[in-house]
Structures are given as C-alpha cells and as structure tokens.
Symmetry: C2
Subunit: 333 residues, 2 copies
C-alpha cells in the first residue's frame, strides 16, 4: 500500500500525454494529490498547484509519485537529483516505469540511508495463492474488451464513481500500473507468474458485504492473442456477477496485431459469458461501454443507439455521457 | 538444453509412484537414459540397469537427473552427498523439484568449483517475447482437457510416437517440468510471467517444414478456474491447426475444486474451437483422448464407442490402445 496523499512528479514531460498517470490521479482521486512538482522544461500541466518538494511536505504529502513516462528507457540524471532530494526530505517514491527504481543503485542507497520506501508497482510484492474457486460474498463486475486499450480502466473508474453517487457500496480494484498508482493499491496482473494469476485476482477481491461491489479493472481481451491468458484469469479469479462489454468502433485491427480483426461485440459476449459462468453460473452481461473518442457527438449518439437496439443492453460512452446507466443496470440486478 | 544421455537418480524413493519422472523418461525417451542410480532404501525400480555414478559416466551419461519426488519439502543430507559427489565427478544436475537446486548453497558451491550446471526446470531461463500472433509455417496440434491431469502429456507423447511410426515429421514440445526432463528442453509455462505466456509458446513452436507437426503438451483446462489462463495462452500462442479433447470420465469434480463439475466434452470443444479460430481460422477438432484407467477393458471399449458416436470423432485411450487413430486423423487433415 502506497502512503497518500501524493505530490505528483511531472519531471521534464515533453507533452501533456506523457503525464497521463498524473492526469489519471488528478481526475479520479484528486483527494490523493496535494499538488504537482515540475522540473525545468516541463510541458505538461495537470491543473494542480505547482509546489516545491518542501511545499508538498508542508501540505502533507507522504509519497512522490512519478506521474510521467520517461524518455529513452532510462531515469535521467536530472530526475535522479530531484528524486534523491525527495528521499532525503522524507518522501517515499512510487513508480510504474519499466525501469525500476529498485534497479538504480543511487536511489536504493538514498532510500536505505533515509529509511524510505521505493514502490515499483510493476513488480508484485505479495506471494499470491493459487486460486481456490471458492464462492466469495459480495458482488463483482468486470469489463471485458473486444481489444486491448479500449477504455476498460476508464469504464471501471467512471462506474465506481457513478455507483457511489447512487449510494451503492463500491470499490475500484486496480489490476494495472496506472490503476495501482491512482488508488495506491492493486495487483500488477501482467507481471504475476502464470500459476498465480487467478489467485491474485481472488486475493484482490475478497469476501465483502453482500451489497458491496468490486469494480475490477479489466485487462487485454479474450480475442487478443498476446494477452488473452490474463483476461481469462480475470474472468475466473474475479467470479464476476456482471460483465460489461467494452469496445472502440473505429479500430481497424487488434492493437499491435495488424493481421487480426476486432471481433463483434456479440462474439465477445458469448464466449466471455460461457467462461464466466464456470466460476459464477448467475453471471449476466449488463451493458456496453463504447469509446467514441474518434466520433463526432452525432456519430456517437447514433452508434450508441444502434448498438443498444442490436444488443438489447444499455450502451453508453462513460467519458462522454457518464456511467449512470451502467450503475443503474447493476443496481437492478 | 540439458545434456543427454542421463543417469536417473531414484534416491531413496519410498514407492514406485515417487519415481514417475524417471519412469516417464524411461518410457518415452529410453535412448536418453543409460541407467538408474539408487540409494539405500530405494523402493522404486524403473527397469533400467543399476549403476554407480562411475558406471554411469563410463556409459556416457552427462547429466544426473533427479527422477524422484523428495519428501518433506527439502533436499535431504543423504541426497546432498550423492549430488555433490556427482558434480565432483563431472555430472551436471537437472531437477523439477519445487525446492530449487540453485537455492542450496552447498550444491551451488560444488557446481561452481567443478564447472558444472544446475538445471532447475521449474524456472524459466529465457526472456520470452510478447506474442506477435504472426502466422508460422508448419503444423501444430494441442490437447485441451475437460480438467487438469486427465492425460494430456501422455496423449501428446503417444501421438508423437504414433506419428513418427507412420513416417510423419513430429516433435513433442514440452510445457511442464516432467515433459522438459523427458525431452531435455521446453517451456515451464506455469512459471512464466503473465504477459509473456503466449510468447513463450510461440518461441517453443517456431516456423518449421510445412509438413512438420509440433505436438504441444497441454496444461490446465479452460474450465479449471485456477489455471485456465495458462490453457488460454497455449491455445493462442500455439496457433493449433488441430485440437484433441482429453477427458477422464470417472472424475467426480474438477481437480482440487470440490464445488466444480467436470464439463461435457462438447462444451470444451465449442469454446476451445471458438478461441483457437481467433489465432488459426482453419483449426479443427480431430479426435478424443479418453483416460480409461479406472474402467475395465469392457467398460472402456463401450464408453469409447459411445463417445465416438456422440461426438463424430475418433475416440481412443492412447495408453490402452495406442494413438494410431489420432495420428491417422492428423495425417488426413
């Protein structure tokens, strides 16, 4: 568990997109961030107060979170100086970078000297059990995509907000690096050893109140040949009571796989539901989440109406129009 | 790659079953084993000549393979003395034990001193790539089970023999510890990190002659909630041209999951084929492999006839009656 609140490190981000982890924290858990800390040349701004390391501490920050992608696959000298200073001042560090903080001898030495923790959220720190399949109390919902990167994390976070606004009990359960940094906790599922994948999802979504919902962050797709095993483990380890189909309608082929067509939503619905019923015979598909970012408002509305009629399920773009109708569908279950 | 031939270490095996790895090597790759090396009190015998370490070397052995399960989760002092002596004499060691040879300081020191290799086949030694899904040349067959431990490895090994006896080009591709020790090579799939599972199967079954078959060892089951992600990665990483359904008809519930019923063969056929066609639209289910060990000969024959009629596919017990009809079905593709 990463100590909150955070100061968000934007470094010398070359553009706004490079700071998408910081933006996610600001958008979804603004209460977790006291401000942003930028170095010279930084071209990103997530809309929080600019603070020095000292001002961040003053405002209560416990952890400096690296909210920006690094360039060229290494942690630069400029970053190092700021990070070592932060450790000396009393910050823990947290990062989802491919280059691990714990692989940098100078950061490790500074953390040891000052008694601070280096969180690399790409690396599991728990010895997860093998899944038992035992039925757990409480309810769970999982978004399954026709492809990778179609908006499953966004859907889950928006759904979590919409459910809590309705007075439902809900917890977003992160399964990827960005989600873990946003919430401070979760399972880095793509880095878990094969035999323990489903068990790590069971661990992430334990027994809970009968009316509590875990909103589990989806990963990959059953039809994406590189990562389908991870999706499978989410479906069986998560024992979902409800599935939401996530889709991005303008994609020409599966992400990173030019020879693979994106499947129909109906194909994903059928195979995901068949497999989900192995772990939870009562599982139902309750709605569709469409990422319409590459469509005009008019195209989006017309596409959503068509999908809703064809699939007989509420179809929304949670970014554009909110996730209330998906929350409603879960409340009605 | 583990150097062959082997001398098979049976240690002080308490019974025949404890030596099943050694038995597998003797049954399937007898040319890989010069003899067996037993300690005082050993109650297993795989039917090879008893040899001392010196006699094994004389007969050409390069590696001492631990062909027996250990007791109580540790490598005993009695074993240690024999293993250290083997290293001093010039043997490499290979093991599929949960307790790693490389975690034992005295074995590591002895291997270093004598320039020998300690192979722990439970641990991947390759940095596998992420799967690309690119179509490969050559053909592949995979057994998919209704449950774990229904005879998928046995089916693959028997099929490999039957295909080579027909003059077909075939290679057994090991994906588990026993299979790796039997053949000296393979991928320990259950120990691979999630993101690289399908990639490791692509790595294991590369481009080959158009008429060459990789016979891929199956793992888990799409309907076994603990391990289904591993099975999924085999189906997509393997790009099989042909699937064989493996089943054990007397099992009362899924292995290790008392609340889960074993699915119908038709259910596995349908979902496995749907998912396999994502990676290989031409994939076909070509036969059924039934493990009839808990049935009389008469019961087995009658059950196989019934399955064959119901499924419209050749149904055989490869242990009892050989895998020729499955090889024939592949040859006819």
């Amino acid at each position: 568990m990463i100590k909150t609140p955070y100061l968000l490190f934007l470094g010398d981000a070359p553009d706004q997109l490079a700071a998408k982890v910081a933006q996610g924290i600001k958008d979804w858990r603004p209460e977790n961030a006291v401000g942003q800390f930028r170095l010279e040349g930084c071209k990103a701004d997530v809309g929080l107060s600019d603070m020095t390391l000292a001002e961040g501490l003053e405002a209560g920050a416990k952890t400096l979170v690296i909210g920006v992608a690094n360039r060229g696959g290494q942690i630069s000298q400029m970053w190092k100086e700021a990070l070592i200073e932060a450790l000396a001042m009393g910050y823990d560090l947290a990062s989802g970078l491919h280059n691990l903080l714990n692989d940098e001898a100078d950061l490790v030495a500074a953390a040891k000297k000052h008694g601070r923790i280096l969180h690399d959220v790409r690396i599991p720190t728990v010895e997860y059990p093998i899944a038992t399949g035992v039925k757990r109390t409480g309810k769970r919902v999982l978004a399954v995509g026709t492809d990778c990167s179609v908006g499953k994390m966004y859907t889950a976070l928006a759904l979590d907000v919409a459910m809590r606004e309705r007075g439902m009990k809900s917890t977003f359960r992160a399964t990827g690096q960005t989600g873990i940094l946003i919430t401070g906790d979760g399972v880095p599922l793509d880095a878990v050893v094969a035999d323990f994948m489903a068990g790590s999802v069971e661990y992430l979504t334990p027994d809970n109140d009968p009316d509590h919902w875990d909103v589990i962050e989806g990963q990959g797709s059953l039809f994406h040949v590189s990562y389908s095993g991870v999706t499978m483990a989410l479906i069986h380890g998560g024992q979902p009571d409800a599935l939401i189909i996530s889709h991005e309608p303008t994609r020409e082929h599966m992400r990173g796989l030019p020879d693979y067509k994106v499947p129909d939503m109906a194909a994903i619905r059928d195979v995901a539901l068949t497999l989900a019923k192995v772990a939870n015979p009562d599982c139902k598909v309750v709605g569709i989440s469409v990422n319409t970012q590459h469509m005009s408002e008019e195209e989006a509305r017309s596409y959503l109406d068509k999908v809703e009629a064809e699939m007989g399920l509420p179809a929304v773009d949670p970014f554009r129009h909110g996730a209330e109708r998906l929350a409603e569908a879960l409340a009605a279950l």
